[in-house]
Symmetry: C2
Subunit: 360 residues, 2 copies
């Protein structure tokens, strides 16, 4: 089957949804995307694994990346897709419709349609977003061919309910091991109970006042939370140690070392291991190209709390925002769907932004 | 090989130690014990699975049970046994020498030797003590043939460093599940963190003042301790629940329902599940037969903190104490041993008690 990029967005979304592309199985869909885009003379199409890149060469002053991933989480009896008429309008239902083939459908349609945009565009379709970072297609591309990602601004078409979500918070995980000393629990006074010792760590967590941080006009709400705890060895032994994993979500005004310093302050007196660190990304809304984008799209930007691949663009020095159809809270749910009207909203927003005349 | 019950205690201990009898594999040793005891006309020998019972019928007013288990924990490159000369005297080294073939050797020697004691004796050698209670040979016997356990007093020859350890504390385990509500950890304010909620339970544990309880002249030290904790589902999810297992060791003045009531008082407001309950056992030292025993043995009784099978006798209404050679803190260690002099001490103590003339 060959993708028809001139059809309506609902039909196009159903067509790409029905090609199952759970992470690791993107090949067929990537082939179809590559073939469909290659039919257009205004696009230079490149391929890296199951990542497809289509570049325009209009000779514009600015270049923007518009990116989306082709893979989905595993299906849950929710393919093939279906259409549902609801009081709120038509829904396209099925695995990936929300996260994020709705955004991919918008990309494909505009990639074919915009034969003469006012900005050069790098359309990016990548693999392995829903699995470990070491497999992530965007990371691979940034490592192998960073020149293909060069741009003044990036839009990641993750679901945002068709509004703009700027930047993303950083996330860091640490593990604190509270020490104790084993003893038979019938003679507990000969030991030191590590689980009882955990109380001090929990007191600090409960007393912590998370910041609300303004970054470029967006208010990010931080959080410091225990996410996992485990301790003890048997029902008759005083626990010799107890591990607690703590997740710190920090606003993008902080660099990783600032986040570590804050954790060292809160848990003064404890050693800890940093088990995960993903820097945040500034929204970049202070830049003119971003302001153009906001004006064209006509939405009020809000902060992105969760971590997304916009941080990879940020790490390359490219301001990036999330903007795509569908409710992000439906991502990965068995009943995920994409409202048809949001497909149009996003296509219209991008179309306006990519065709307005720029000042010389 | 036939056991020679007339030989010295060190030789006898080595002989039975070198017959490996890890729980579930007691058959060969039980056969040897049965055969050796059956050679003595003053003993009526019975068998139940791998439990061997030898009863005297001297027609005395009182009957005592003297019990030991034949099984050991798994070997750890510590068989066959060896002898070690140390500044403190001769040690018999190897799996089971401490827990509790030293006691079994004393039992076997005296069972053969005491052809005319002043009390009738039920010598009991049982299986499956080191594993789950459902397999325990003493429990099986109490269920199947309680008449074989009828007695005025019982001595369990678990290692006590050749002193008397009276009764045993009860032990109870409960599980408290602290509730929460899951949310993405980037939006923690939408959830309720169950691990943070654990803090209140730990505060109560840390504030708890365990009692010292005098029971029949022995001071039992209670304890209330968290032994296991686990909570959380993933590194990016606010934990929806957290389980904490708490072990309560209570003095034998408390019945199980008293222990539960105390836990309900301490953890008022929390539901909990009782995952384990083993009642304690009073030392029974207020009885004349026990006082005779203490006087004969010539040791100052001390409380037993850990739970042992004396509680099974207690549940049958039979006062029971622990009394056996070797240091109990060496039980289950790879380098367990039994001091030769304690074999003699225990044999002498029991011999005195079982041969003194009783008042009419």
């Amino acid at each position: 089957m060959r993708l028809d990029l001139t059809t309506d967005l609902v039909t196009l979304l159903q067509a790409i949804t029905d090609v199952e592309s759970v992470s690791g199985n993107e090949r067929q869909l990537a082939d179809m995307v590559e073939e469909a885009l290659s039919a257009h003379d205004h696009l230079e199409v490149r391929r890296d694994g199951d990542c497809v890149i289509a570049l325009t060469h209009f000779g514009r002053q600015q270049r923007v990346v518009i990116a989306g991933h082709l893979d989905t989480v595993p299906i849950a009896n929710n393919l093939p897709s279906s259409l549902e008429e609801t009081p709120e309008g038509l829904h396209v239902v099925g695995r990936g419709t929300c996260d994020m083939k709705g955004g991919v459908a918008v990309q494909l349609k505009l990639a074919a349609e915009l034969t003469d945009a006012t900005r050069d565009i790098t359309w990016l379709f990548y693999d392995h977003e829903e699995v470990g970072a070491e497999l992530n297609g965007l990371k691979r591309l940034a490592d192998n061919s960073p020149e293909l990602l060069e741009a003044d601004f990036a839009v990641l078409m993750e679901p945002t309910d068709a509004t703009i979500e700027g930047g993303c918070q950083g996330t860091c995980r640490i593990r604190i091991t509270v020490p104790g000393r084993a003893a038979h629990s019938a003679r507990s006074w000969l030991g030191v109970n590590a689980i009882h010792g955990l109380s001090d760590v929990l007191d600090r967590l409960n007393a912590y006042e998370a910041r609300d941080v303004d970054v470029e006009g967006l208010t990010y709400r931080e959080g410091l939370n225990a996410v996992l705890v485990s301790g003890g060895v048997a029902g008759n032994v005083i626990p010799p140690s107890c591990d607690i994993d703590i997740n710190y979500r920090f606003a993008p005004d902080k660099e990783p070392q600032d986040a570590i310093a804050e954790l060292a302050r809160v848990f003064d007196g404890y050693g800890f291991e940093v088990t995960d660190m993903s820097p945040g990304a500034r929204p970049g809304l202070d830049q003119e190209i971003a302001q153009d984008f906001v004006a064209s799209v006509g939405a009020t930007p809000r902060p992105k709390y969760g971590w997304t691949d916009v941080a990879r663009f940020s790490a390359l020095g490219i301001p990036a925002v999330n903007y795509g159809p569908a409710d992000p809270s439906l991502a990965h749910t068995d009943n995920e769907y994409c409202p048809a009207d949001q497909l149009d909203t996003c296509a219209d927003g991008l179309r306006r932004w990519l065709t307005i005349e720029q000042e010389a």
